[in-house]
């Protein structure tokens, strides 16, 4: 080996050591980027040369710059991302829902129900005081208001979830586009390289994109070794060479609001399940908040129906001169239990009492509602014609399907002993209107004239026997509530929600803890230690100085040689 060869070896070493310093410097420069993956310069001895009998090394060559990343760990992080963000989205829905309910605050629905029954208890204590009826009706209005308020809070929660779904889909689609665009660039850049990780910056960007995408939807990433990656969602591909499938949204109606449904372009597979922020948000919107709405509706409709069943058989301080039902039938010629009423009646009868207002004399007539399964069954028109058969009473079906009953001049009509539920079904002499948490209200005839509040059952103004039944509404068990009482049902629902929320929280913490542990492992392996990098720099610096000294030695040798 000649001096020139030695000089060239030393020269290449200088190059490589300065590259090493450059790599370490780049690492230090990116030390604060959490997505940055530590790089290191890989060195190999150059091919040795044979000189006579000697085989002498010819210095060092740089094989390339390698990202220090654990691919297996990365796959686990993608999976853990889906679990953790899905659970976290559900947990957040639970917490928001619980906050909306204001449980334990005195403003929640359970307290409102207590206040309603409390006000009816006060009415029972002294029904003869006009203010008692007024207050009971007002409390009814407040109760209905608090139900609809709660419902609209939950609707808002669901609408918010909807826009979140929308923005997640937009974000996912732009990530998909980004990744699809990065794939060919990385392939092109690395085509000359050997380590398949040379395009560090671009790869960092793609790792960041994949990481975020795996939080939104549970993806699988397949690295096919050419620099590009395939991304799949379940059995559907999102990114494969030459094709990109985005997420698509479509709107459908659900529980009174429009909801965004998300599918994969091409196959139309819906996004569902428990993994990923998107599925978690959809689950929260449809199952957690939506499920609560179902329970709320069950609770509300039971209260409306039970309250109206009792109220419609009682009497106020005086009768009605005219009363119009609040529930519409679709077809007045259809049997009443098949006429599209929210609370269909059953076989039985009710009584109308036509009271002469000047003498106070009442005339009772029984209206039969024959629905025992033996045809012909009673229709609304059948009820109307029976009512028209009662002296001093006229009845009709309005053009929009409501029952209207008018008493003749000087007469009023009262109702009693309805064992068929027909009056409650048609909304005649009822307290609440509506059939769900959206439309519950108090009958406008009562708000206009609280003396119509049916506190009694045929006695004088001091008769509070019907109000006593209404005050006990919370203790009534209802088949529609699975046999549970109205008061307990809501408490059970809220307790069950708290329980579910609490377990989701625990699950979420578990997932997050696991993800954190993985991320911490990743940080430990791929993160930048400035001390390490400085040592690297110092090491390369020393090597550089030594190589320079070697050159100077060779130079002296040359000088000596040339002086001969």
């Amino acid at each position: 080996m000649g001096l020139n060869a030695a000089l060239s070896t030393a020269g290449s070493a200088l190059d490589i050591f300065s590259s090493g310093i450059q790599v370490a410097g780049n690492n230090i420069a990116n030390a604060n980027d959490p997505n940055y993956v530590r790089e290191s310069l890989l060195l190999d001895p150059s091919f040795p040369v044979q000189q006579g009998g000697l085989i002498i090394g010819s210095g060092v060559t740089a094989t390339g710059v390698k990202q220090q990343i654990d691919q297996f760990l990365q796959t686990r992080i993608y999976a853990a991302n889906g679990d953790a963000s899905g659970s976290s989205a559900r947990n957040s829905t639970y917490q928001q829902l619980e906050t909306s309910l204001q449980t334990l605050s005195g403003a929640d629905l359970s307290s409102q129900l207590s206040q309603l029954t409390g006000q009816f208890n006060n009415l029972v204590n002294q029904p003869e005081l006009g203010a008692s009826r007024q207050l009971a009706v007002q409390q009814g209005v407040q109760f209905a208001q608090s139900v609809t308020d709660l419902r609209s809070r939950i609707d808002t929660l669901r609408t918010t979830a909807n826009s979140q779904v929308d923005s997640l889909v937009t974000e996912a689609n732009s990530l998909i586009d980004d990744i699809a665009a990065l794939n060919p660039r990385i392939t092109a850049l690395e085509s000359a390289g050997l380590l398949k990780s040379d395009a560090g910056g671009l790869r960092d960007q793609r790792y960041a994109d994949l990481n975020r995408l795996s939080q939104i939807v549970p993806i699988t990433v397949i690295d096919h070794g050419t620099g590009g990656v395939d991304v799949a969602l379940g059995n559907d591909s999102l990114i494969i060479p030459g094709a990109v499938h985005h997420l698509e949204t479509s709107v459908s109606g659900d529980r009174g609001i429009g909801v965004e449904n998300v599918t994969v372009e091409g196959t139309n597979t819906p996004i569902s399940g428990s993994k990923g922020e998107l599925a978690g948000t959809i689950f929260g919107r449809d199952n957690i908040a939506g499920g609560f709405i179902d329970k709320l509706d069950q609770f509300t409709s039971s209260i409306i129906n039970q309250f109206n069943l009792i109220h419609s058989s009682g009497q106020g301080e005086h009768g009605y001169t005219s009363v119009t039902g609040t529930y519409r039938v679709k077809d007045p010629n259809a049997a009443l239990d098949a006429a599209g009423l929210a609370f269909p009646p059953q076989n039985g009868s009710f009584q109308v009492e036509v009271v002469n207002t000047s003498t106070g004399i009442a005339q009772t007539s029984t209206i039969n509602v024959d629905l025992a399964g033996v045809n012909p069954r009673t229709t609304l028109n059948g009820v109307v014609s029976q009512l028209n058969g009662v002296a001093n009473l006229s009845a009709s079906v309005t053009s929009d399907g409501f029952l209207q009953i008018n008493a003749a001049n000087g007469y009023q009509v009262e109702f009693a002993n309805d064992n068929s539920g027909t009056l409650a079904a048609l909304g005649v002499n009822t307290f609440f209107t509506g059939s769900s948490s959206v439309d519950i209200g108090v009958n406008s005839q009562l708000t206009a004239d609280p003396t119509l509040l049916a506190a009694g059952q045929g006695g004088g103004p001091g008769d509070g026997s019907n109000a006593a039944l209404l005050a006990g509404i919370g203790n009534l068990s209802s088949a529609a509530l699975g046999g549970s009482t109205i008061g307990n049902f809501y408490q059970q629902t809220v307790s069950a929600l708290g329980q579910a929320s609490s377990s989701e929280n625990a699950v979420s913490q578990g997932f997050q803890g696991f993800l954190d542990a993985l991320n911490s492992q990743k940080a430990q392996f791929s993160g930048i230690s400035i001390d390490n990098e400085m040592i690297q720099i110092m090491q390369f610096q020393n090597s550089y100085q030594t190589a320079a000294r070697f050159i100077s030695t060779i130079d002296k040798l040359f000088t000596s040689l040339l002086q001969i």
């Binding site: 030390a31 959490p34 530590r38 639970y94 917490q95 619980e98 449980t103 334990l104 359970s110 307290s111 207590s114 409390g118 208890n121 006060n122 204590n125 002294q126 029904p127 003869e128 005081l129 076989n347 003498t359 004399i361 009442a362 005339q363 029984t366 039969n368 025992a372 033996v374 064992n419 006695g459 004088g460 103004p461 001091g462 008769d463 026997s465 006593a468 005050a471 408490q491 809220v494 307790s495 929600l497 329980q499 929320s501 609490s502 929280n505 997050q512 803890g513 954190d516 542990a517 911490s520 492992q521 940080a523 430990q524 392996f525 993160g527 230690s529 400035i530 001390d531 390490n532 040592i535």
Partner: protein, 636 residues
């Protein structure tokens, strides 16, 4: 971020930073939570923070609200009952004063003039009791029943006192499952209504009869029955749970089995249902665990026809008069009706327009009659009372059978002699016979001893000369009538105590044997209450009626005892309220303790935990500050 264990190996700066950040965030979060607990005093803000305790708290809170409401109900009851009790005390006082006046009035110790001035004192007492009866508290007339927005007692122009309230108990809920009346109605307090005239008038079963009205109002629960016919041989399970009336039962059974195969109808006695197959026999049984067939009385094995027997339906407002008395009705009404005497009013009530019970009651509600009308508590008959205290009340016939068949005649064959003449009875066992001077001039002495009822008296008189000397109830009004065809002279009954007591004493001077000697009504009804006594006492003093004064003396004692009884019952109710109140307060305390246990933050624990966390946080900050300064660069 979770602060997990460190793996052996590198410690990149990014990891150190992440861990420091996580530690600080954790410490901050923990401290914020503790601060929230301190400021709200609650262990949790939403149920999921502690689901078990939260669900306890929710239940306890609702229990607490319920107890607060019950407590307010108890307070409302207590104040109303207290006011009622002081009013009743003044009634007792009035009765005592009346007793004194009555004692002085009996006999000749005082002159008639003195008695008239005593009567004026009674007049003042009447006004005092009427005022008491109209006492109000918190906007309520205490003694009006449910008609408590106007004064229930008023003095009529004839001096009688009218009670226009009702007899309803106004109940409120004072404890879970315990309702109690917050009032004493005027009839309970002052016996302001006459005891109701009533008897079982056996309404017939019809297709309209509600199943809930069967078996004296107990009703019949519905469900499934199993019916087997021999021809065509079938066994069918029939679901009667939708049935509400007898007509529904008929329709459902006939529909299930085929109207050609079976006929369901009302039985011959019109008190039950009969089920008859067209051919062969019928078996009706309850499915295992059921009892509908046996409750309806239609369980039977291989019978040609099944008869339920008497299902004893209740009387309702819509029951037709023609269906009373087992379907026999109430007799012809045209030209007949009821002769009602109430105080100064005497009126024939024409009931020919009445079809249903309600129609009849509406006719009787006519304001000039001053009656309280309704259906009796047993549900099997009418109940008619007079609202007037200090007046005589009776319901009699007007040539028909209407009053008797409606069960509301005040004087019938079964009326007990002991109840006649305001309960003073008839001296049938006094050794004196009833002396009747017949139209042929002969005098017959009828021995009435041992007679118990009016019918016994009639039977004994009729046994004297069967078919010729005939005693019967008056065709018009009440009382006994005698006809005698023995001759053409006058017919008379002696004015002995017995004859007078029976109301027969007197003479029919004519000579027509078909014209009866019409006796007087000796069974006038009276309320017997405080006001009745006072009004009668006033009149008796004014008219110096010693017999009545003597009778009233006993009545005042009875009435005092009765009012004392009412006050005792009221006292028992107030005692109940006190007990409930005490137990509610106790329960409230316990509930609040339990609620506090499950909901409230333990301040001592929270504070010491906060201090511990603060120390840990400070340590973390110090460590962080130092760790962050360490770098190789510092030492180069």
């Amino acid at each position: 971020m979770d602060i997990g264990p460190l793996l052996p190996g590198r410690m990149p700066n990014s990891l150190i930073t992440q861990r420091l950040q996580a530690q600080m965030q954790d410490a901050r979060f923990g401290m914020s939570q503790l601060e929230t607990e301190l400021s709200t005093g609650q262990k949790f803000q939403i149920p999921s923070e502690d689901p078990i305790d939260a669900s306890h708290a929710i239940q306890l809170q609702s229990l607490l609200t319920q107890n607060t409401q019950l407590d307010s109900n108890v307070q409302a009851s207590t104040s109303l009952l207290n006011a009622t009790d002081s009013a009743l005390a003044s009634i007792s006082g009035a009765l005592n004063a009346a007793k004194g006046l009555d004692s002085s009035g009996v006999g000749n110790a005082n002159t008639p003039e003195q008695k008239v001035s005593m009567a004026q004192e009674v007049q003042a007492l009447i006004q005092e009791v009427v005022n008491t009866g109209n006492s109000t508290f918190g906007g309520r007339y205490l003694f009006g029943g449910s008609r408590n927005t106007t004064g229930p007692f008023s003095v009529t122009s004839t001096g009688a006192v009218l009670y226009s309230g009702d007899q309803q108990s106004l109940n409120n809920l004072v404890d879970v499952g315990l309702t109690q009346a917050t009032n004493v109605d005027g009839n309970t307090a002052l016996a302001a209504l006459t005891p109701p005239v009533t008897s079982d008038i056996n309404p017939a079963l019809t297709l309209q009869t509600q199943l809930s009205a069967l078996k004296a109002g107990q009703g019949v629960a519905t469900g499934q029955i199993s019916v087997t016919l021999s021809s065509p041989a079938t066994t069918t399970t029939i679901d009667l749970s939708q049935a509400k009336t007898i007509g529904d039962v008929k329709n459902i059974i006939e529909n299930a089995l085929g109207a050609a195969n079976v006929t369901v109808g009302i039985n011959a006695a019109k008190n039950g249902i009969s089920i008859t197959p067209t051919a062969g026999t019928i078996t009706i049984a309850d499915p295992p665990g059921g009892s509908v067939a046996s409750n309806l009385g239609i369980a039977g094995n291989a019978l040609a026809s099944i008869n339920s027997g008497d299902l004893n339906p209740d009387l309702t407002l819509t029951t037709k008069l023609a269906d009373l008395n087992g379907g026999a009705g109430i007799g012809a009404t045209a030209g007949n009706g009821l002769l009602i005497t109430n105080g100064s009013t005497q009126k024939v009530v024409d009931i020919s327009s009445a079809v249903t019970v309600e129609d009849l009651l509406n006719l009787l509600k006519s304001p000039d009659l001053n009656l309280s009308v309704g259906i009796n508590s047993a549900g099997n008959g009418l109940a008619i009372s007079s609202r007037l205290s200090g007046a005589d009340f009776s319901i009699g016939e007007n040539n028909g059978q209407n009053a008797t068949k409606l069960g509301i005649r005040t004087f019938t064959g079964s009326t007990l002699l002991s109840s006649l003449n305001y309960g003073q009875g008839i001296p049938v066992n006094g050794g004196q016979p009833l002396a009747i001077t017949r139209r042929d001039g002969t005098v017959v002495n009828v021995d009435l001893s041992g007679s118990i009822s009016v019918q016994d008296v009639i039977n004994k008189i009729n046994a004297v000369d069967p078919g010729n000397l005939v005693a019967s109830l008056n065709a018009v009004g009440n009382g006994l009538s005698l006809v005698d065809n023995s001759g053409a002279g006058p017919l008379s009954v002696d004015t002995s105590a017995l004859g007078t007591a029976l109301g027969l004493a007197g003479t029919e001077p004519g000579n027509n044997p078909a014209v009866p000697l019409v006796g007087k009504d000796v069974n006038a009804q009276e309320t017997g209450g405080t006001l009745d006594i006072l009004v009668r006492l006033q009149k008796a003093l004014e008219t110096n009626d010693n017999a009545t004064l003597t009778r009233l003396g006993g009545m005042i004692d009875d009435e005092s005892t009765r009012v004392t009884g009412v006050r005792a019952a009221l006292g028992a109710r107030m005692q109940t309220l006190q007990n409930v109140d005490a137990s509610l307060k106790n329960q409230n305390l316990q509930t609040q303790q339990a609620l506090s246990n499950s909901k409230d933050a333990d301040m001592a624990t929270v504070l010491s935990e906060l201090i511990a966390r603060q120390t840990a946080f400070e340590a973390t900050l110090r460590a962080a500050a130092q760790t962050m300064q360490l770098s190789l660069a510092q030492f180069l």
